[in-house]
Protein backbone atom coordinates (compact mmCIF):
# COMPACT_ATOMS: atom_id res chain seq x y z
CA UNK A 1 0.00 0.00 0.00
CA UNK A 2 1.56 3.25 -1.10
CA UNK A 3 -0.01 6.37 0.29
CA UNK A 4 1.00 9.96 -0.19
CA UNK A 5 0.01 12.99 1.83
CA UNK A 6 -0.26 16.38 0.19
CA UNK A 7 -0.12 18.23 3.50
CA UNK A 8 3.59 17.54 3.72
CA UNK A 9 4.21 19.25 0.37
CA UNK A 10 1.80 22.05 1.04
CA UNK A 11 3.40 22.88 4.40
CA UNK A 12 7.01 22.57 3.33
CA UNK A 13 6.77 24.15 -0.15
CA UNK A 14 3.54 26.16 -0.28
CA UNK A 15 4.72 27.97 -3.41
CA UNK A 16 5.06 24.71 -5.39
CA UNK A 17 3.88 25.10 -9.00
CA UNK A 18 3.59 21.49 -10.08
CA UNK A 19 3.08 18.10 -8.45
CA UNK A 20 4.20 15.57 -11.09
CA UNK A 21 3.38 12.25 -9.45
CA UNK A 22 2.55 10.16 -12.50
CA UNK A 23 3.61 6.49 -12.63
CA UNK A 24 4.43 6.32 -8.92
CA UNK A 25 2.33 3.26 -8.00
CA UNK A 26 0.31 5.34 -5.55
CA UNK A 27 -2.76 3.55 -4.18
CA UNK A 28 -4.14 6.17 -1.94
CA UNK A 29 -4.00 9.86 -1.08
CA UNK A 30 -4.23 10.89 2.51
CA UNK A 31 -7.19 13.26 2.96
CA UNK A 32 -6.20 16.89 3.31
CA UNK A 33 -9.08 19.12 4.31
CA UNK A 34 -7.14 22.26 3.65
CA UNK A 35 -3.85 22.75 1.86
CA UNK A 36 -1.59 25.79 1.91
CA UNK A 37 -0.62 25.81 -1.74
CA UNK A 38 -0.49 29.34 -3.03
CA UNK A 39 0.58 28.82 -6.66
CA UNK A 40 -0.14 25.19 -7.45
CA UNK A 41 -1.05 24.90 -11.13
CA UNK A 42 -0.54 21.28 -12.11
CA UNK A 43 -1.40 18.03 -10.31
CA UNK A 44 -0.52 14.96 -12.32
CA UNK A 45 -1.46 11.68 -10.65
CA UNK A 46 -1.94 9.79 -13.90
CA UNK A 47 -1.14 6.10 -14.24
CA UNK A 48 -1.18 5.19 -10.59
CA UNK A 49 -3.39 2.72 -8.75
CA UNK A 50 -5.87 5.10 -7.14
CA UNK A 51 -8.89 2.90 -6.49
CA UNK A 52 -11.26 5.08 -4.48
CA UNK A 53 -13.70 7.85 -5.38
CA UNK A 54 -12.44 11.23 -6.50
CA UNK A 55 -12.06 12.85 -3.08
CA UNK A 56 -14.33 15.88 -2.65
CA UNK A 57 -11.51 17.70 -0.87
CA UNK A 58 -9.71 17.88 -4.22
CA UNK A 59 -11.96 20.86 -4.84
CA UNK A 60 -9.97 22.72 -2.15
CA UNK A 61 -6.55 21.82 -3.55
CA UNK A 62 -5.83 25.27 -4.85
CA UNK A 63 -7.82 27.96 -6.61
CA UNK A 64 -4.81 28.42 -8.89
CA UNK A 65 -5.00 24.88 -10.30
CA UNK A 66 -5.16 24.80 -14.11
CA UNK A 67 -4.45 21.14 -14.81
CA UNK A 68 -5.70 18.05 -12.99
CA UNK A 69 -4.73 14.70 -14.50
CA UNK A 70 -6.14 11.59 -12.83
CA UNK A 71 -6.16 9.44 -15.97
CA UNK A 72 -5.17 5.79 -15.98
CA UNK A 73 -6.18 4.89 -12.45
CA UNK A 74 -8.96 2.77 -10.97
CA UNK A 75 -11.08 5.62 -9.68
CA UNK A 76 -14.67 4.68 -8.97
CA UNK A 77 -18.00 6.29 -8.23
CA UNK A 78 -19.42 9.56 -9.44
CA UNK A 79 -17.49 12.68 -10.34
CA UNK A 80 -18.23 15.03 -7.41
CA UNK A 81 -20.28 18.16 -8.18
CA UNK A 82 -17.91 20.16 -6.05
CA UNK A 83 -15.08 19.71 -8.54
CA UNK A 84 -16.44 22.88 -10.13
CA UNK A 85 -14.83 24.81 -7.25
CA UNK A 86 -11.61 24.54 -9.25
CA UNK A 87 -12.68 27.60 -11.21
CA UNK A 88 -9.43 28.10 -13.11
CA UNK A 89 -9.12 24.56 -14.47
CA UNK A 90 -8.13 24.44 -18.13
CA UNK A 91 -7.42 20.72 -18.38
CA UNK A 92 -9.31 17.93 -16.64
CA UNK A 93 -8.26 14.43 -17.63
CA UNK A 94 -10.22 11.56 -16.08
CA UNK A 95 -9.89 9.06 -18.93
CA UNK A 96 -9.30 5.38 -18.33
CA UNK A 97 -10.84 4.94 -14.89
CA UNK A 98 -13.95 3.17 -13.64
CA UNK A 99 -16.01 6.26 -13.00
CA UNK A 100 -19.76 5.70 -13.03
CA UNK A 101 -22.92 7.68 -12.47
CA UNK A 102 -23.86 10.78 -14.39
CA UNK A 103 -21.90 13.88 -15.32
CA UNK A 104 -22.33 16.70 -12.80
CA UNK A 105 -24.32 19.74 -13.92
CA UNK A 106 -21.69 21.86 -12.24
CA UNK A 107 -19.19 21.16 -15.05
CA UNK A 108 -20.84 24.08 -16.81
CA UNK A 109 -19.23 26.41 -14.26
CA UNK A 110 -15.73 25.49 -15.41
CA UNK A 111 -15.82 28.14 -18.11
CA UNK A 112 -12.04 28.19 -18.59
CA UNK A 113 -11.94 24.50 -19.42
CA UNK A 114 -10.11 23.86 -22.71
CA UNK A 115 -9.52 20.10 -22.52
CA UNK A 116 -12.03 17.69 -21.01
CA UNK A 117 -11.25 14.01 -21.35
CA UNK A 118 -13.74 11.59 -19.80
CA UNK A 119 -13.25 8.70 -22.21
CA UNK A 120 -13.12 5.04 -21.27
CA UNK A 121 -15.20 5.08 -18.12
CA UNK A 122 -18.72 3.81 -17.44
CA UNK A 123 -20.44 7.17 -17.20
CA UNK A 124 -24.20 7.00 -17.79
CA UNK A 125 -27.17 9.33 -18.41
CA UNK A 126 -27.16 12.32 -20.71
CA UNK A 127 -24.65 15.13 -21.19
CA UNK A 128 -25.87 18.05 -19.03
CA UNK A 129 -27.06 21.05 -21.01
CA UNK A 130 -24.71 23.13 -18.88
CA UNK A 131 -21.90 21.84 -21.14
CA UNK A 132 -23.03 24.57 -23.52
CA UNK A 133 -21.34 27.05 -21.16
CA UNK A 134 -17.92 25.51 -21.87
CA UNK A 135 -17.15 28.00 -24.60
CA UNK A 136 -13.35 27.65 -24.31
CA UNK A 137 -13.32 23.90 -25.05
CA UNK A 138 -10.79 22.75 -27.65
CA UNK A 139 -10.96 19.06 -26.86
CA UNK A 140 -14.03 17.18 -25.73
CA UNK A 141 -13.58 13.45 -25.48
CA UNK A 142 -16.30 11.40 -23.81
CA UNK A 143 -15.97 8.39 -26.08
CA UNK A 144 -16.40 4.85 -24.78
CA UNK A 145 -18.87 5.46 -22.00
CA UNK A 146 -22.57 4.66 -21.66
CA UNK A 147 -23.93 8.13 -22.33
CA UNK A 148 -27.36 8.52 -23.87
CA UNK A 149 -29.63 11.38 -24.86
CA UNK A 150 -28.76 14.20 -27.19
CA UNK A 151 -25.55 16.20 -27.54
CA UNK A 152 -25.77 19.84 -26.39
CA UNK A 153 -24.07 22.64 -28.30
CA UNK A 154 -20.42 22.64 -27.25
Amino acid sequence: MKQIGLNYWSNSIPSLLELPLENCQIDNIKPARKTNFTNLQVVDLSNNNLNHQIPSWFSNLSTTLVQLDLSGNLLQGEIPQIISNLQNLKTLDLQGNQLSGGLPDSFGQLTHLEVLNLSNNTIVHSIPSSFSNLSSLRTLNHGHNQLNGTIPIV
Binding site: S135, R138, N141, G143, L147, T150, I151, P152, V154
Partner: protein
Protein backbone atom coordinates in the same frame (compact mmCIF):
# COMPACT_ATOMS: atom_id res chain seq x y z
CA UNK B 1 -12.53 22.96 -31.50
CA UNK B 2 -9.78 20.47 -32.28
CA UNK B 3 -11.05 17.16 -30.93
CA UNK B 4 -14.65 16.02 -30.69
CA UNK B 5 -15.04 12.42 -29.65
CA UNK B 6 -18.55 11.23 -28.90
CA UNK B 7 -17.78 7.69 -30.08
CA UNK B 8 -19.01 4.43 -28.57
CA UNK B 9 -21.91 5.67 -26.47
CA UNK B 10 -25.68 5.48 -26.96
CA UNK B 11 -26.21 9.08 -27.99
CA UNK B 12 -29.29 9.98 -30.00
CA UNK B 13 -30.53 12.93 -32.02
CA UNK B 14 -28.35 15.09 -34.20
CA UNK B 15 -25.00 16.66 -33.59
CA UNK B 16 -25.50 20.40 -33.09
CA UNK B 17 -23.25 23.19 -34.23
CA UNK B 18 -20.34 24.07 -31.97
CA UNK B 19 -19.59 27.41 -30.35
CA UNK B 20 -16.15 27.69 -31.84
CA UNK B 21 -14.70 27.42 -35.29
CA UNK B 22 -14.21 23.99 -36.78
CA UNK B 23 -11.38 25.12 -39.01
CA UNK B 24 -8.84 23.55 -36.64
CA UNK B 25 -10.64 20.27 -36.21
CA UNK B 26 -8.15 17.42 -36.12
CA UNK B 27 -10.24 14.51 -34.86
CA UNK B 28 -13.94 13.85 -35.21
CA UNK B 29 -15.37 10.59 -33.94
CA UNK B 30 -19.14 10.27 -33.66
CA UNK B 31 -19.03 6.55 -34.47
CA UNK B 32 -20.99 3.78 -32.77
CA UNK B 33 -23.93 5.82 -31.55
CA UNK B 34 -27.58 6.15 -32.57
CA UNK B 35 -27.25 9.59 -34.08
CA UNK B 36 -29.52 10.46 -36.97
CA UNK B 37 -30.78 13.33 -39.06
CA UNK B 38 -29.61 15.50 -41.93
CA UNK B 39 -26.04 16.70 -42.20
CA UNK B 40 -25.92 20.46 -42.31
CA UNK B 41 -23.22 22.93 -43.10
CA UNK B 42 -21.33 23.99 -39.97
CA UNK B 43 -22.72 21.20 -37.91
CA UNK B 44 -20.93 18.00 -37.13
CA UNK B 45 -23.29 15.30 -38.08
CA UNK B 46 -22.16 11.93 -39.30
CA UNK B 47 -24.75 9.49 -38.31
CA UNK B 48 -25.37 5.98 -37.31
CA UNK B 49 -27.87 4.41 -39.67
CA UNK B 50 -27.64 7.35 -41.98
CA UNK B 51 -29.77 7.09 -45.11
CA UNK B 52 -28.45 10.13 -46.95
CA UNK B 53 -24.98 11.53 -46.81
CA UNK B 54 -24.36 15.24 -47.37
CA UNK B 55 -20.74 15.87 -46.60
CA UNK B 56 -20.08 18.98 -48.67
CA UNK B 57 -19.18 20.99 -45.53
CA UNK B 58 -16.21 18.67 -45.07
CA UNK B 59 -14.66 20.01 -48.29
CA UNK B 60 -13.64 23.18 -46.50
CA UNK B 61 -12.33 21.39 -43.38
CA UNK B 62 -8.79 21.09 -44.68
CA UNK B 63 -7.33 20.55 -41.20
CA UNK B 64 -9.28 17.38 -40.49
CA UNK B 65 -6.72 14.61 -40.03
CA UNK B 66 -8.78 11.73 -38.64
CA UNK B 67 -12.31 10.77 -39.65
CA UNK B 68 -13.95 7.77 -38.03
CA UNK B 69 -17.23 6.56 -39.48
CA UNK B 70 -17.02 2.90 -38.51
CA UNK B 71 -20.33 1.21 -37.69
CA UNK B 72 -22.09 4.24 -39.08
CA UNK B 73 -24.44 2.23 -41.23
CA UNK B 74 -23.88 4.62 -44.12
CA UNK B 75 -24.72 3.17 -47.51
CA UNK B 76 -24.76 5.29 -50.64
CA UNK B 77 -22.44 6.59 -53.31
CA UNK B 78 -19.84 9.01 -52.01
CA UNK B 79 -19.39 12.13 -54.15
CA UNK B 80 -16.25 12.26 -56.34
CA UNK B 81 -14.65 15.08 -54.34
CA UNK B 82 -14.85 12.97 -51.20
CA UNK B 83 -12.20 10.52 -52.38
CA UNK B 84 -9.77 13.32 -53.25
CA UNK B 85 -10.50 14.97 -49.92
CA UNK B 86 -9.84 11.76 -48.01
CA UNK B 87 -6.29 11.63 -49.39
CA UNK B 88 -5.37 14.15 -46.70
CA UNK B 89 -6.78 12.22 -43.77
CA UNK B 90 -6.36 8.97 -41.94
CA UNK B 91 -9.64 7.24 -42.65
CA UNK B 92 -10.89 4.65 -40.19
Amino acid sequence: MQVLNHGANSLTGGMPATHGSLSNLVTLDPSSNFLEGPIQEKSLEIFFELKELHLSWLKTQSFVKVLTMSNSGISDLAPCWFWNWTLQIEFS
